[in-house]
Symmetry: D3
């Protein structure tokens, strides 16, 4: 088996670090790193519903995603300068929002909205999966604060949610691709799962040549293993935040 | 097994019709129906490359997608009135473009761009899969015209591409969901394949509750069967267009 | 007299076809053709007034107009990509709206809005006049549905409205110009009339050289004849729709 | 015959004043008044062609139109705050541009663009006709400057152009409507003519009830008389500017 | 001491003229000139508060600023064509608004908004200071009208406000720079003061080389003298308006 | 003298920390804190000039400024969602750009552009002064890299630049206001200076009541002292970065 660029095994994650409470004013926040990829996640609680939930007692969880201009190896223009979020940004923030909602009982949340902002400080591949994984921490911390204030029951957060990428690079399925691997990948998967070992999202795209059923199975299995490990990292960070 | 809303079997497609040459001025076009869903697809050839291909001899295939305001059961505001394509629109047109490019040898296409417009005249679920399936017909007809004029070799189009949706409705995996089924689905898949029985895209989303690995396998299998049938419909339409 | 490009007489319309009910979900719809020009017209009823009618019992009729990118002989960029409807589009949709309101008693319509969407599937000259003529059919069908439900009185639609173009081509006044004639015309008229043989709009523009009073009279007379014939086509289509 | 609001005869213009050279930096400019309606017109010459004239030796004349927020009796929001010129603005600036081009030999103008800005300082009806009439003065003055510098031949400006409104108020055809008359008018005409007694534009709209052929004739005749008088005012102003 | 371009002394203002009531429909208006710089200022009263004052009895004063395209020596594109006010425009309108609010007791103004529009007809340097100085006149005239109608007490306007520029040109501090001086200035100051000889704004920018504390003092002193004179001109214009 | 909210003396800065190299991909970067205010500054070098410098050998330095949505005590909407940078943002980024250019010999910089991005991670008052002070570090580090590569001479950076705020709170002039002081301040100053003890910008605004000349002098003096200390901090950080 060919060695990976950074010497990792095919099924190995990059070093994961999670620093909770990074933005002091936010109801919940963390700075998460997957190797050089660094995303600042913050959850904000607002006591209002989106329009379409009016006349219900349900709440909502939504996400926004953005990259700092110099998170990338050459400077990327700010989207505000073009007047609107690009297609990629919108696709990613829709994915993060859907993923996080899979961990929340929106009826128990009550008539409020939690917005999870994921701002990429440094981008080296996997920014969307780091955003989902770190966004869950920020969401969970904000929910704990609401629960402590008796505004929501503790069971509003029903499970964990985490995400990881997998792909086929030079014919080999590998986990958690860095930017250089991602650019060379023939197939690119992003998988989101809940703590109950169930899938929320499976998105696979052939960048170069189409893939067969066996590859699909192999990539899903790699991702499942990586996510189990991310769940462990999340639990450690949440335990540390409470002490 | 519970009967489907419109009496179909779980693995059955809706009636498929393809009318080629609907827009006379386009290099290739068709009006495709998946049941009540009707999409007008047109391929336009331009003798210029996108900026990032400058200094190469490669071409590009891109797609645009839009719904007429009254394609839907209540009127939908035009996106131009809001000043920009929404997130869903951009996500769909990126998907269509990627899917169609899987059938094209961009080096053989040469320094030109083919834009495939998919305009939904009536929307009853599955508009993105009908767009990919009909978009391929339009693209193929345009390529034939270019090949006839000796501008590109016939092998520029390397395979067929088609797409279909599948989902879990009331616990049962079903193929090619209509709008009413789609609204009630717990899990929603869109699968794009090439004529070589290989996957271009697998996108599965849990709308309500997360899904397990067995469901993933079942849905992918259903889609594979539906796409085989769509390939047959495409070949018939292309044969008819040539006579 | 020089023969016209397509062999028509100076005072002859192109073949007119009207297919009602083309968009099943709309309250009223039709696909109208003036020769190769094809416009899909749909009327949508909303139970709300525009802001400036608040505190009255009146309703409103408005129109939107758009061309599919490949309705034209070379592809036209979507207006949403430029972020706003162009000047021509706005001018045309204001004309269609004003014209259709001339056939409606807005007080009888009551506090609701009818939006008539005119989407050009194929453009070969005269798209705005086809839009007015087909838009009236869609509007009338929607009003019939409202009247059947006893929401408005049948006399809410007070008359017919139709439109046609006329122009001076190579010195000769001709009716209902196709694109090629339109491009070569020295003078370009659009006339909208009601069933009471009265004018709603007369818009004449010298494209090349200014015109004298005699030309103005001749063109208005040509248009009047064409519109009388369009009224007949409208009545046939509406009768057919009812059976 | 019922007296008009301001005591004028049916065929009478409001007091017309033209002050040339109002904006010192412009190649040509004037402040024109039709009664209380005051429009500042400026012609700017740029030594470049619009894109579609590239590879020709022709020039172009275009116009822009805007109203100061407090030109109107209650404040009107600036269009820049809404992010784009409204439909009415675009319709008017297209009309002014077409009208002025009828007075110019664009081949003789050579590869340059003249932009005529019409900014309404005070609006009391007829702002578009004052803009055409005053815009011609600004254009003519700029052309004289170019001719003096031997950049274009004097015959580049081929004729005069002026415009006036007419309408049916309380059943009577009247010339040059002020705002109050305009609001009450059943029919509203704007007519643009050249010095050769020929029409450039005839735009008639029934605001309330449709009009018959006799009304059309009467309004066109009124306008012709008013324009003849405006030509006289233009010639006086231009003579005064030269001394 | 080197003579100034237009022969003025270092501490001398350009000729100041103020014509009140220029826009008849506005609650207060004036056309103010500082030499060739001419700004049309209009105050509009609206009986509504901005959102953030809801549930209070306070009012607000805001300003908008724009330049006519041909106010400048070469034509400047309209900001509406770029879809939004530029950074400089926003900076200036924020400055004018803040400055005028320094002269108003917003609690006495009551739940209404006064918008002061400053439209530059001709720009020869100092347009923002002319806008503040003329804007105060328009505001004061509008307030007098409200006071006459017993809607606000006369002491709502608590003081005068005026502004002037100063700068270092060729090493010498000078007052009220014209465009040519401004372009050559090393340091550029704008100072706004109230009638109580107090500062509202001091904005100093080194365009070329940084300035020391002595220069700062000299420029502020020059500005103070110029503003005293502008207060006198304002009082004359207001007295004349009342007779 | 009343104690300050956080116990500081009137002339005391908050704790200043500067972490260089925070964004690995940038040519120069630092994370700077003024107390709880934290700004991430990155300098990007591009080998192209802005349009107006074409045909010269000069370069340019520009800045962009943005706040993360949850840098503030309640969430702030992203500007991209409103389609454009707000007035305050543009004003600040113009200020940062002008300030940094005061430290650069643009002719020596040569035909390139350095963009300094200042992204506020946490906002507790003084974000613009922290941006200037940290932006200089990023700029200087990028310039060192260019000088090391012999692309520019070391003397391209001609001096240091730093900025600080001062204000009058409860009648007392104080240095480097935190958010709570800033909200209560009667007068708000921002001062930018170079290492040669000279002013680049002096911006003073009366938020509540106008200020006299003595206050102006006191605030400028306070700022001068604070900036001297910031220069020391900058030098320490730059020395540490080189080892």
């Amino acid at each position: 088996m060919p060695a990976r660029i950074d010497g990792r095994q095919a099924h190995e994650l990059r070093p994961i670090t999670i620093e909770t409470g990074y933005q002091e004013f936010a109801e919940g926040s963390c700075l998460i790193s997957f190797g050089k990829t660094r995303v600042l996640c913050a959850a904000s609680v607002a006591e209002r519903q989106p329009g379409w939930l009016r006349n219900t007692q349900s709440g909502w969880v939504t996400a926004e995603y953005s990259m700092l201009p110099r998170s990338t190896s050459t400077r990327t223009q700010r989207e505000v300068e073009r007047g609107r979020p690009g297609g990629r940004t919108q696709e990613i923030q829709r994915l993060i929002g859907r993923s996080l909602r899979a961990a929340v009982d929106l009826d128990l949340l009550g008539p409020r909205t939690i917005t999870v902002d994921c701002d990429v400080l440094q981008a080296d591949g996997g920014t969307r999966t780091a955003s989902v994984t770190g966004g869950f921490i920020a969401l969970r911390l904000a929910a704990e604060k609401l629960a402590l204030a008796n505004l929501i029951p503790p069971e509003t957060i029903t499970t964990q949610v985490a995400a990881v990428s997998a792909g086929i690079v030079a014919g080999t399925p590998v986990l958690d691709l860095c930017y250089e691997e991602d650019s060379a990948a023939e197939v690119d998967f992003n998988v989101v799962m809940t703590g109950a070992d169930a899938f929320v999202e499976v998105q696979g795209t052939a960048e170069g040549k189409p893939f067969d059923g066996a590859s699909l199975d192999a990539l899903v299995e790699l991702a499942r293993g990586g996510i189990a490990e991310l769940f462990e990292r999340q639990r450690e960070a949440l335990r540390a935040a409470q002490t």
